[in-house]
């Protein structure tokens, strides 16, 4: 209720995430070229495009797993990257990096749960040691999250006792337990057996419905179409097209988008049938 005036003025407020003219190279390979996007609070942005388009790198620079070479990134007013005197980006200091990571949660393709900890400990370790919650409060929060993802009965098992889909849901809960402002999803269903993809997407869909700000890199086009407020198409390090999912999927302006979609949607059935194969391409 108190949020409605805020929502009404969203347009005039600064976006939650501001990415301006960002460049990033690995050696001679340019992985991000002149990337500019704003993401508003509560918005769900889905990034699609062929392998090697720079989608994953885009997510990784947002929470400082990679440094950018040039450009400006602001997250909730925190300057993650800005040009130094010589035009190249300044490296953020450790305090800035940690401040940003408190605002942004990330879920990885390979889950990366801590294998020597129970599900409960995986979810509570950062809230306790980083946010400073007492352990009872952290466990309460974790319990609520586990109920939400339907894994309340798995609180005391170890990750290797879970299926891939369950592990990925725990990884989402682990990131959410830090109560971030935004969540980044890096091809989170690509390493899963096809029958396990749905349960993870369901959790993400709930999250989107709850108003979480999300940037999602995915090859699940049907999901992208349903959940995205905006679709960003990348190719060879550039954003080649951006718009409503309906525009992008039904009437792409850019021939490369059309070509990419045709390939994915024609091969799509195969790709959904064996994500591992799609991954290796």
């Amino acid at each position: 209720m108190t949020e409605s005036p805020t929502a009404a003025t969203t347009g005039s407020r600064a976006p939650l995430i501001e990415i301006r003219e960002v460049h990033k190279s690995f050696g001679t390979l340019e992985v991000l070229r002149d990337v500019t996007i704003d993401v508003d609070s509560g918005e769900v942005v889905v990034v699609i495009g062929p392998s090697g388009a720079g989608k994953t790198t885009l997510l990784r620079v947002l929470n400082c797993l990679e440094a950018v070479d040039a450009g400006t990134i602001k997250i909730k007013g925190i300057r993650v990257a800005e040009p130094g005197p010589d035009g190249r980006s300044l490296r953020p200091d450790d305090r800035t990096i940690r401040a940003v990571r408190l605002e942004i949660g990330m879920v990885f393709q390979r889950f990366n749960l801590f294998p020597h900890m129970t599900v409960m400990d995986n979810i509570t370790i950062a809230p306790i040691h980083v946010r400073g919650l007492d352990s009872e409060e952290a466990r309460g929060r974790a319990t609520a999250l586990l109920r939400r993802i339907g894994l309340l009965d798995k609180a005391n098992v170890y990750p290797h006792q879970l299926s891939g889909g369950q592990q990925q849901r725990v990884a989402i809960a682990r990131a959410l337990a830090m109560q971030p402002e935004a969540m980044l999803f890096d091809e989170v269903t690509s390493a899963l057996d096809p029958e396990l993809v749905g349960e993870v997407l369901k959790v993400m869909r709930q999250l989107a419905d709850d108003g979480m700000t999300m940037i999602i890199v995915t090859h699940e086009m049907q999901f992208a179409r349903e959940v995205a407020d905006r679709v960003v198409v990348m190719d060879a390090g550039r954003i080649i097209e951006m718009g409503q999912p309906r525009e992008i999927f039904q009437a792409p302006r850019e021939p490369r988008t059309a070509e990419f979609l045709r390939r994915v949607l024609v091969e799509g059935r195969e790709a959904t049938a064996s994500p591992a194969q799609a991954e290796s391409e």
């Binding site: 400082c64 949660g105 990885f108 390979r110 801590f114 370790i125 950062a126 040691h129 682990r174 990131a175």
Partner: protein, 221 residues
């Protein structure tokens, strides 16, 4: 021959048992020193950018690995008193063995730490965990698992290497044997018994390490 051996054993068993106990004691204590020092050295050598940790640790490890253990022991025992540091032989032995093994063990730690998947670091970083917490709560527990078998091998090797401290007059197993032998001239019997004692302890221990290694490999699938 057999009779004389039985009779001699009766006389020798007391001192030999004491020697063996001291040998085992030296093994455990110097292993503990090695484990602790090795961890500190490994952590100091992880990040070259922290040169004020890196270079001293690196230099120390190279010096230790580039010189013989027995010379290091002599140095501790005979040279340090000249600069006013006098330690009893047992302390010297524990430190000497511990420092030497610590230098080698730091390599094992380093290997273990580097064997932990990069994704673990990234996930922990993404949760805004500081490096010290990541190391303590995420990486080291996984690294410890990885290094248990190689550390077990070092433990067995250390048990045998304790014999070297006989040279600085610690009355462990070998030194005791040498005393007995020089008094009785029964070199054949005394040193054979000593070999047997070392073997009956180290062989089961190394079998246990091998089993542990196999078990860990199965547990990892």
């Amino acid at each position: 021959m057999i009779e004389s051996l039985a009779k001699n054993l009766e006389v020798w068993s007391g001192p030999l048992l004491n020697g063996t106990i001291l040998t085992v004691f030296l093994t455990f204590t110097s292993f503990a020193v090695g484990l602790s020092l090795g961890l500190v050295l490994a952590l100091a050598r992880l990040n070259r950018k922290l040169w004020y940790f890196y270079w001293p640790a690196q230099t120390f490890v190279e010096l230790i690995r580039g010189t013989p253990l027995i010379v290091q022991l002599f140095y501790l025992f005979f040279v340090l008193p000249f600069v006013g540091i006098t330690m009893d032989p047992i302390t010297t032995g524990i430190l000497g063995l511990g420092i030497n093994y610590g230098a080698y063990m730091s390599e094992v730690y380093r290997g273990g730490i580097e064997a932990v998947e990069r994704g673990q670091w990234e996930a922990a970083h993404a949760l805004a965990m500081p490096t010290s917490l990541i190391m303590r709560a995420v990486v080291l527990p996984q690294a410890f698992r990885i290094i248990i078998p190689p550390m077990g091998n070092y433990f067995v090797a250390l048990f045998k290497d304790t014999a070297i401290v006989a040279t600085i007059s610690i009355t462990e197993l070998l030194f005791t044997a040498r005393l007995i032998a020089s008094q009785t001239f029964q070199y054949l019997q005394v040193y054979t018994i000593v070999l047997v004692i070392y073997f009956v302890i180290s062989y089961p221990a190394s079998r246990a390490v091998a089993r542990l290694e196999r078990y860990m490999r199965i547990a990892d699938r």
